[in-house]
């Protein structure tokens, strides 16, 4: 089936911004409070109330535009999108239509075939969210306007994606960027990152796009993939039967994994967009853009390259570490203090990640600071302790908050490496295991591990493995 048709996908993503206050008033944007407790005349749409633009929202939109290589418009307009719905208090949504703040951007994704692909970003615009309807049985529906006037960014892609996998790769990349920038908390369940997908098919040899269906408001990556895959099959069947796909809006049903028609083209709203006369044109100066550019953090792609070249770690490690900005920052601080890139990446991806997972803490609340962890890793490098003992010390640090050196001294974990202490222990082991000694000398060199284990047992793991090895090999071979 898929050999016959090419899939064409364009995505519209609504990103809820993390500003403290709403886009056109001073009300808080916190999630989960008492219904209608975060409202004022402006976000209630009371007669006489007027919107005033929150400058922080513009900062965030410019920042996102710069991160996705958009052109930032020196002059942009807010427009009214008119429609009636009980969760829309003014009877119109303030959005941007003509002249959005950002246009002509792009994003790089890695396809499953391992290739780099550029996805165009048509535009990014700012708008306000609507409220929420609460349906209770019997007493009817109620309106909670806490969310009304919450700032959103709508990011519209070009129809550049050719499979659901590419769509997911794009979404994950975009999600990573907005979270990296700190403009969005990235919480999919709470609706901070919502997606509409435009899906169409065309015969492989056809230039023009086919008729598209718009899949609405899907809030998990898994569902988006399911919805697109279902829609592709549905449309292919229609085309195979010689039918025509209708242009319509379709809802994804998470229970059945299918999509169903919500409204057709003939029922489509005429939103009667026009420039909002309550808001003056938004003028963005070069200085403003430059000021924002200075605050632009290092983005994942650049960070990964830097980790590889500067710290000499494998690309895989760099990708894992750079996936989340806080983890990358932790790693960066650790290497700057400690120096050994690979040792540090092993520890962050290993022990630190494990401990965080077990405790359910985010890396920003890690009880062992990068400087403290560096102190521990230095003791591995200078042979004060072994890697194995280091894990024990790390657990101690995690629980007590104390430094590595303190714990090593208090618990007497310093590695035993002087030969005066090791030789007698080895004498004791060789004497107690004559059979194994004989086997080793007969060529079963694998038994070295057995002797090391015995020595570790006797030293409670504190013996320096290198010194131990050296002495063991010398003694076993010398007397053979």
């Amino acid at each position: 089936m898929l050999s016959k048709y090419e899939v064409v996908i364009g995505l519209e993503v609504h990103v809820q911004l993390t500003t403290d206050t709403k886009i056109f008033c001073h009300c808080a944007t916190r999630f989960g409070n008492q219904p209608n407790s975060q409202t004022c005349p402006v976000c209630l749409g009371l007669p006489g109330a007027l919107p005033v633009l929150n400058k922080k929202v513009v900062d965030y939109a410019i920042l996102t535009g710069l991160a996705t290589h958009c052109a930032i418009a020196p002059r942009s307009l807010f427009a009214r999108k008119n429609y009636f719905y009980p969760d829309l208090p003014k009877g119109y949504q303030i959005s941007q239509f003509e002249l959005p703040i950002c246009e002509h951007g792009r994003l790089e994704i890695d396809t499953q075939e391992g290739e780099r692909k550029t996805i165009g970003i048509t535009r990014i615009h700012m708008e306000e969210d609507a409220g929420k309807l609460l349906h209770d049985s019997g007493t009817g529906s109620r309106v909670d306007l806490n969310r009304a006037c919450t700032p959103l960014m709508e990011i519209v892609s070009e129809p550049d994606m050719r499979s659901s996998d590419e769509a997911i790769a794009y979404l994950k990349k975009l999600h990573q960027i907005v979270v990296y920038l700190g403009v969005c908390d990235g919480n999919l369940e709470e609706g901070s990152f919502r997606c509409d997908a435009n899906v169409s098919l065309r015969p492989r040899d056809q230039k023009e796009f086919g008729t598209r269906a718009e899949l609405k408001n899907i809030n998990s990556f898994r569902f988006i993939k399911q919805a697109i895959d279902y829609e592709v099959e549905r449309q292919a069947e229609i085309l195979d039967d010689g039918g025509r796909v209708t242009q319509e809006t379709r809802l994804f049903d998470t229970a059945t994994g299918t999509t169903r028609s919500m409204r057709g083209k003939e029922e489509a709203h005429d939103y009667r967009y026009f420039p909002d006369p309550d808001l003056v044109p938004l003028l963005v100066s070069e200085d403003w853009i430059e000021e924002i550019r200075k605050s632009l953090p290092e983005l994942p792609e650049v960070k990964i390259d830097r980790f590889v070249t500067e710290y000499g770690i494998p690309r895989y490690d760099a990708e894992v570490l750079a996936a989340e900005r806080a983890t990358a920052d932790y790693y960066d601080a650790l290497v700057k203090e400690q120096g050994n890139g690979k040792l540090c990446s092993n520890w962050v991806m290993g022990e630190v990640q494990r401990a965080l997972n077990e405790s359910g803490l985010p890396v920003t609340e890690c009880p062992v600071a990068p400087q403290q962890l560096a102190g521990l890793l230095k003791r591995i490098e200078d042979n004060t302790i072994s890697g194995k003992i280091a894990k024990q010390v790390f657990d101690g640090m995690w629980q007590s908050g104390r430094d590595a050196d303190t714990i090593i001294e208090q618990q007497g974990l310093r590695q035993v490496s002087d030969l005066g202490t090791i030789e007698p222990i080895i004498d004791q082991i060789l004497a107690a295991n004559p059979e194994q000694v004989a086997e080793f000398r007969a060529g079963k060199e694998k038994l070295l591990g057995f002797f090391v284990g015995q020595a570790m047992k006797l030293t409670k793991g504190k013996a320096d493995p290198a010194a131990l090895n050296e002495v063991l090999v010398r003694r076993l071979k010398a007397e053979g």
């Binding site: 007669p47 006489g48 007027l50 008119n82 009636f84 967009y273 026009f274």
Partner: protein, 485 residues
């Protein structure tokens, strides 16, 4: 002379000289309202008790020497101003039961000065109309002759001043809604430059045109009221951050050497001869005071009315979408679903003129018509503004009639909306240009109805406008003629 016949500035002097208390003054106005408003219907809500409480507070403030310009002065507001705890209807049945939880900026500024609010005034529903016959609560009658309309949409505000039921009032002007009723009622009305007074807390009709302004007994009173409410407001993105000058300081500087333009497009056939004559006499009077007159042209005047009825209605169709019966105001719910509830609430709540303008505006913004109507109207608007700016290169002030005729009879034009719209033909261009203008009484018709003179000023140059108006006014006595109520 009764207390209610005093001008605002005379009241202020007596209050500050302790010759009069605000409570006495407020009682006098409440008595006057009780005595005459049954014949006028200017007030939709009288807040008598609260007014007396506020008057007592004002008296204490004056006694302590902490009085401001308007402390203790009884004023009233067009019912388009949102007032905390006081019913605000915009003269619409759809807001019959609406009690706002907040004060708008202009109201808050009046309250901060210690002005006493007597109540809320009748108007055309949602400020749409030129005769006050479009009120959901009955028409206002002209204090000069109750068979005639007071003009609109701030008909209640103008009639209230003319009938001495408040020291002064605030109105709003979108296409002439302060100036035209001021002219028909023989009072002074000022529409400031767009952006001079905050619109926060003013129920929107057409956001890019609406502007708050005073209606008062004379020019000085207007200046005082404007002084109290003018100035930048961070809560209104379209309010302009320019300093507010002392409007009374230059009031008496005269008009010697002032260049006044006479736009040829405003002295046309169809202009009532009595109006024409009164305006000619005003020109002669100002010339005698030393003003110089220049013939000028505002070539795009002919397109102003059409342009206005596209832009204003387009904005209104969107501004009035919030009256849906969901959160406040009247709801009609037959239990037949959401869309039905929206439609029935709006069908029952809005009057015919409001519905007409919502339909017009919705059409003008519709997909496929937007470019031909709304966008083109915006381009015409720019040309009209350029006409005015070009004229102001040559002259300081423009002089025109306010309305083509004196007040007309109730019911005379209700059957023909287009005839009604023509009442605003000389005032609408000023709103489209965004500049300031005022209406001054300049004569009486043979039937004893007032005639208004319009002076139009440069953007944000209300001071010159007031100075010219004052010079004209003081040279005659039209502003002192009381309505024969």
């Amino acid at each position: 002379m009764s207390l209610t016949d005093l001008t605002l500035h005379a009241m202020q002097k007596r209050l500050q000289d302790k010759e009069l208390t605000s409570v006495e003054l407020t009682r006098a106005f409440l008595d006057r309202i009780a005595a005459v408003d049954g014949r006028i219907n200017a007030y939709l809500t009288v807040t008598g008790e609260q007014a007396l409480t506020d008057a007592a507070l004002a008296d204490r403030r004056l006694a302590e020497g902490r009085g401001d310009a308007l402390t203790g002065i009884p004023v009233a507001l067009k019912d388009i101003f949102v007032t905390e705890g006081v019913r605000t209807t915009c003269a619409s049945r759809i807001l019959d039961n609406f009690i706002p939880p907040y004060d708008g900026t202009a109201v808050a500024r009046l309250k901060a000065q210690g002005a006493v609010l007597l109540g809320k005034l009748n108007m055309d529903e949602f400020a749409m109309g030129s005769s006050n016959e479009n009120s959901g609560f009955g028409p206002v009658r002209n204090p000069w002759n109750p068979d005639y309309v007071p003009g609109g949409s701030s008909g209640g505000s103008a009639a209230c001043v003319a009938a001495r039921m408040a020291a002064a009032t605030l109105g709003t002007d979108t296409g002439g809604s302060i100036r035209q009723p001021a002219a028909h009622c023989g009072v002074v009305g000022l529409k400031p430059t767009y952006g001079r007074v905050s619109r926060y807390g003013v129920i929107a009709y057409a956001s890019s045109l609406d502007q708050v302004g005073p209606l008062a007994r004379d020019v000085e009173d207007c200046a005082m009221l404007l002084q109290a409410v003018a100035g930048h407001d961070p809560a209104d993105a379209t309010s302009v951050d320019l300093p507010v000058v002392d409007y009374r300081a230059s009031l008496k500087d005269g008009v010697k050497g002032l260049r006044i333009g006479l736009p040829e497009e405003y002295f046309i056939e169809g202009l009532d001869p009595e109006v024409h004559k009164a305006v000619e006499q005003a020109i002669a009077s100002l010339r005698a005071l030393g003003a110089e007159f220049v013939q000028i042209s505002l070539p795009h005047t002919d397109y102003a009315l059409a342009c206005y009825y596209l832009i204003a209605t387009a904005e209104a169709s969107s501004n009035l979408a919030r009256y849906d019966g969901v959160r406040f105001g009247q709801r009609v719910d037959r239990g037949e679903g959401l869309i039905d509830m929206f439609m029935q609430s709006r069908a029952a709540g809005f009057g015919p003129e409001v519905k007409r303008r919502i339909m017009l505006g919705t059409y003008a913004l519709s997909s496929g018509y937007y470019d031909a109507y709304y966008l083109k109207a915006q381009k015409v608007r720019t040309l009209i503004r350029q006409d005015f700016l070009a004229a102001f290169e040559k002259v300081d002030v423009l002089l025109t009639p306010v309305a083509p005729t004196p007040a007309f009879k109730l019911g005379e034009k209700t059957a023909d909306p287009l005839q009604m719209y023509l009442s605003d033909i000389f005032t609408i261009p000023v709103n489209l240009a965004g500049t300031c203008a005022m209406s001054l009484p300049c004569g009486l018709s043979a039937e004893g109805l007032p005639i208004g003179l319009q002076l139009i000023g440069r953007p944000f140059d209300e001071a010159t406008l007031l100075r010219a108006g004052y010079a004209f006014e003081q040279a005659g006595d039209w502003h002192q003629r009381p309505a024969p109520l």
